[in-house]
Every structure is written in C-alpha cells, then in structure tokens.
C-alpha cells in the first residue's frame, strides 16, 4: 500500500516532527557559535604563535626536520643561562612560598588583631603586582651601592655589605628582589586555603585526642599540600618568565634565559633564528613540565585523601 504524499496535509506529518529535527540540525552549531570568538582569539593569539615557535624549534632553515636546535641548547652559554634561570626561579619560589606560608599562618592562626590580617592581605595584593622595572629601581635604591640599606649598614654598623661579595646584580640579589612579588603572591593564594580548613576538623581531631602537632601533620598539611605545591609551581613559572626586573636591574650582565631570548629576538645574537625558537620551546617545556608535576602530585595527594 502506497501513500500519496501530496494528499497528506503538510502540517499533519511535518509539524510534530519538526521541532526536534530543527533542534538537532540547527542548534548544535549555534551552541558552539557562542564560544567561537573566544576560541578564535585563543587559537590566533595564543596557540598558533606558540605552536609556530615549537614547530620551528624542530626545523632547520630549509624547513627539514631536525633535532640540532634542541641539541644546541646544550652549548655552554645557553646551558648556563637555563641553569641560572632555574636556580633563581627555584630559590625564589621555594623561599617565597615558605615565607608566604609563615606570614599566612601568622595572620590566620597567630591570634593577631583583625587589622593586621586585612592590612597584610591588601598590601600583598599591591606588592604581588608591583613587579617589573619599578621593582628593580626600588631595590637599586635599597641595596645598590648607594642604596639606603647599604649606606646605613656602613655608616651605622660599620658593615660593608659589598665587601662580603654581595651584589644586587648577582644570583642572590635577583632572588631577594623576586621575593618582593613572590611572597605576597603566596600570601594572597594560600590565605583563602587556610580559611577553607573547617573549624569542625580541628574540633574533631581534638575530640579524638589529637595533639596540636598530630592535627597539623594529619589534617592541615595533607589538605593544604596540593595548594601549597601548586602555588610553588606558579611562583616558579612566574619567576622563570620574568624579564623586566632582571633586565632593568642587571642590564644584560646576568645571563638568564629570558634576557638571552630578548637579545636573540632583538638582534639574532645567536645567528640562527631556529635556535631562538628552540630557546622559547625550552622555556615552555620547563614551565609545562612543572605543571605536569603539579597535576601528578595533586592526583596522588587527592587519591591519598580519600
């Protein structure tokens, strides 16, 4: 039996089936249209430019595939630059995290008056954003050869800071300067994590007869460990990519990776554009690896928490 479709009223069959059909065909794309500008922006100005450098790192000037650029990163000057960068970033991240943690514990748990906490958090918000060139100026005015602290130490205490081998343009000088934005960043991030510790946990631990030390070791540290570690890695990446402070502080006398890359972009000092790509790739690789470690640690500690 055949149906003559021309004799069926259009609405009778089509109308009930129509809305779902329309939803399936027309709605999925409009769904994605809403986030299209974001993805377009991210792909054009974040992912593609980075990808371009990563691909370039594995190519020779003729466009062929090569590992020579990556191997060239082991040249003494480049390797030394990476090593200093990693040392400064690591030292400033770990010291900054510990100091920031101590300050956070002091203002959250230390029984200090309320205004101390408010003032510390406000100031930390400011100081964590006070980086770049002005920070270098501030530290030159403080610990430079004519800086206030250097002069006071010499005139009042008879202590010649620069005679001890200290130099603001050195590894420790740069680390000390970076701490000025690293510590506040830690305070800003870790204080809310402390607030997340529920009072009931402390009470429950006390009810079960836990000592203060046991409470810290078995409750506080496991809960805060992922945020702490995550922040350390954030601080590391923060210092690793920073160039302005170091550049204004030391000119190009301290050979860290971002300054080397800066010089390479400006004037191809390495005489090989693809080596520049390799240095950029190396920077992404190191900050990327740091984040992989972070995720790995976090999943481990979360599993352990269950």
């Amino acid at each position: 039996m055949t149906t003559d479709i021309t004799r069926i009223e259009p609405g009778a069959v089509v109308r009930p089936g129509n809305p779902p059909a329309r939803r399936r065909t027309a709605r999925m794309p409009t769904h994605w249209l809403g986030v299209a500008p974001f993805f377009l922006f991210a792909i054009m100005f974040l992912i593609l430019p980075t990808g371009y450098l990563v691909v370039g790192a594995f190519q020779n000037p003729q466009g062929g595939l090569t590992l020579a650029n990556i191997a060239a990163l082991w040249e003494p000057t480049i390797r030394a630059a990476y090593w200093i960068s990693i040392k400064v970033s690591f030292a400033s991240a770990v010291l900054g995290a510990l100091a920031g943690l101590a300050i956070a514990i002091a203002i959250v748990r230390g029984g200090l008056p309320g205004w101390v906490r408010g003032a510390t958090l406000t100031f930390s918000g400011v100081a964590s954003n006070f980086a770049g060139i002005p920070l270098a100026f501030a530290f030159l005015a403080t610990l430079g050869r004519l800086g206030l602290v250097t002069i006071l130490l010499k005139d009042v205490f008879g202590f010649n800071l620069y005679a001890t081998g200290f130099n603001i343009l050195s590894f420790w000088g740069l680390t000390l300067t970076y701490l000025y934005f690293q510590i506040p960043l830690m305070v800003v991030i870790i204080t809310p994590a402390f607030d997340g510790l529920k009072k009931e946990w402390g009470e429950a631990a006390a009810t079960l007869g836990a000592t203060q030390w046991q409470y810290w070791r078995m409750v506080v540290i496991p809960v805060l460990w992922p945020s702490f570690l995550g922040t350390v890695i954030l601080l590391f990446a923060n210092a690793f990519g920073a160039i302005a402070t170091a550049y204004a502080l030391t000119g190009s006398s301290l050979n860290i990776v971002p300054i080397l890359l800066y010089a390479q972009i400006r004037g191809d000092v390495l005489h090989n554009p693809h080596l520049g790509y390799a240095i950029a790739f190396g920077m992404i690789f190191i900050t990327g690896m740091a984040n992989v470690f972070y995720i790995w640690f976090r999943t481990r500690s979360e599993r352990w928490l269950k």
């Binding site: 430019p49 002091a106 230390g110 005015a141 954030l234 160039i243 550049y247 890359l261």
Partner: protein, 263 residues
C-alpha cells in the same frame, strides 16, 4: 598560646620590615636629588618630562582598549559556558591558564614571527596594526585574571533564570548580555579591569619588543640613563598599583556575597 602569639608577631614584623624598607629607601633615594637636603626635585623633573606624559598616556589608552577587548571576549564566553556548555568548562579554564605557563616573551616572539609585514595577516606592517597587536598581547596576559574575576561574578547570580526572564520579555542575545548580564557582574568586571590596568601600565617585554612608545620602555630608558628619576618613577608606579588595588578592595565590598566567599 602566648608563645604562639610572639612568633606570629615576629613573623609579621620581619615580613613588614622586608616589604616596607625598600619603599622607604626608594622614597628617600628619590628625594636626594638636590645636594645636602631632601626635595621633591626628582618628581618635578619626571612630571615635567614630555616623554613621561606621552608614554604614560599611551599606556593608559592601551590599557583601556585591553580592558574593552578582554570584556568583549571573556564576558560572553564565561556566560555561555555557565548557561549552555558546562561540559567544556575545563577546556576553557585550561586555555585561560595558558598565559601563566607560556611566558609573555614567548608569546610576543610568536607574534613577531607570525604577523610580520610579509605574512597573510600583516599586523606589524603598520603602526596602527602594531598597536592592535600590543593590545591583543596585553589582553592575552590579562586573560587568566579577567576570566577568573568574571567567572566569580557569574557564580553569584542566577544566570539561567535571568536569561529565561529576559527571553520571555523578548530580549535577544546581545541585549541579554549587555543589558542583563553585564550590569549584574559589573563589579566583578571592574575589579578585573583594574587588575588589568595595573598589569598593563608598566609592562615592558611586549611593548619593547613591538617597539611601541609605552610607559614600560620609557621606564627602562630612564633607568639606564638617570640617577634619581628612576626612584621617583618607582614611587609613582607603586602609588598607581596601590590605587588600583584599593579600588578593587572597595569594589569587593559592594559585590553580592555568595557561598564561595568567606566572611
């Protein structure tokens, strides 16, 4: 307990000393310009410098465009994710965090190689195009902060109900976002905006590598050539940063409270 309090005060005092001494030292250094006496000469010289005014204004305008671009990209996206596509939130969050992983110098290096004057999209072929690329670069830098600020704001309002109400009243998507959602998250957007401003105003790497006459490269130039003016500029920049953060704190007081905010 008493002993704990002592250690808390000691930690706080040490921290305060580390953070306040450089500020005092910078101020003192800036005031040393006239021999034998303290004066504000260095500040007068800085404010009177036409290059200071020009570069500062340039950076202010760049910051304003950065904020506009950031809002334009982030607000509709964050809204749409909350409303329709919560399943791709992890992807979006991952992308917004990328600028914290990829250093700014690497991003701008990519721009220089990709958007040169011989490329299909020759941003760097003209001064205006380079300005645009600078603003785009800044918007990328500010993306993590802007996204987080807006997303926190959206968390405090009922996006779905507001949208449905607006739709029933016949509003289109543009109108919903500009007239319903944006005013509701305005405070969050503004705090993101001031943070963006603080980041952009003294930014050095991108501006310098794109050869733009911005405030950051000017700071670097003064630092390399003058003695007392850099300290004065550091004080001025600190005051600007402090101003931005104070505004954010004040805004937070007006923000609607949610379960996710302590206090």
């Amino acid at each position: 307990m008493k002993r704990g309090k002592f250690w808390a005060w000691l930690t706080f005092a040490l921290g305060a000393a580390y953070f306040i001494i450089p500020l005092l030292a910078t101020m003192e250094f800036a005031m040393r310009m006239r021999r034998g006496t303290y004066s504000f000469d260095a500040f007068a010289v800085v404010f009177g410098d036409p290059r200071f005014q020009a570069t500062f204004m340039y950076s202010v305008v760049a910051a304003i465009f950065t904020i506009l671009l950031g809002v334009l990209i982030v607000v509709p996206t964050a809204y749409w994710i909350r409303l329709r596509m919560p399943q791709i939130r992890p992807v979006i969050e991952f992308i917004t965090l990328l600028p914290l992983v990829i250093p700014a110098i690497v991003i701008v290096f990519g721009y220089i190689r990709m958007y040169g004057s011989n490329s299909p999209l020759p941003f760097l072929g003209s001064a205006r195009g380079t300005d645009a690329l600078l603003v785009i670069g800044y918007a990328t830098l500010a993306l993590p902060y802007m996204y987080r600020a807006v997303d926190t704001g959206l968390r405090t309002i009922d996006v779905r109900t507001l949208t449905e109400a607006a739709q029933i009243l016949g509003a289109g998507w543009t109108r919903i976002i500009t007239r319903v959602i944006l005013p509701n998250v305005l405070i969050a957007v503004l705090s993101g905006a001031f943070l963006t401003f603080a980041i952009v105003i003294g930014e050095f790497t991108i501006a310098s590598l794109l050869n733009r006459p911005a405030f950051g490269p000017y700071l670097q130039n003064i630092g390399a050539n003058r003695a007392y003016e850099p300290a004065a500029l550091a004080v001025i920049t600190f005051v600007i940063t402090w101003g931005c953060m104070t505004v954010i704190q004040l805004l937070a007081r007006f923000a609607p409270k949610s379960a996710n905010r302590p206090n």
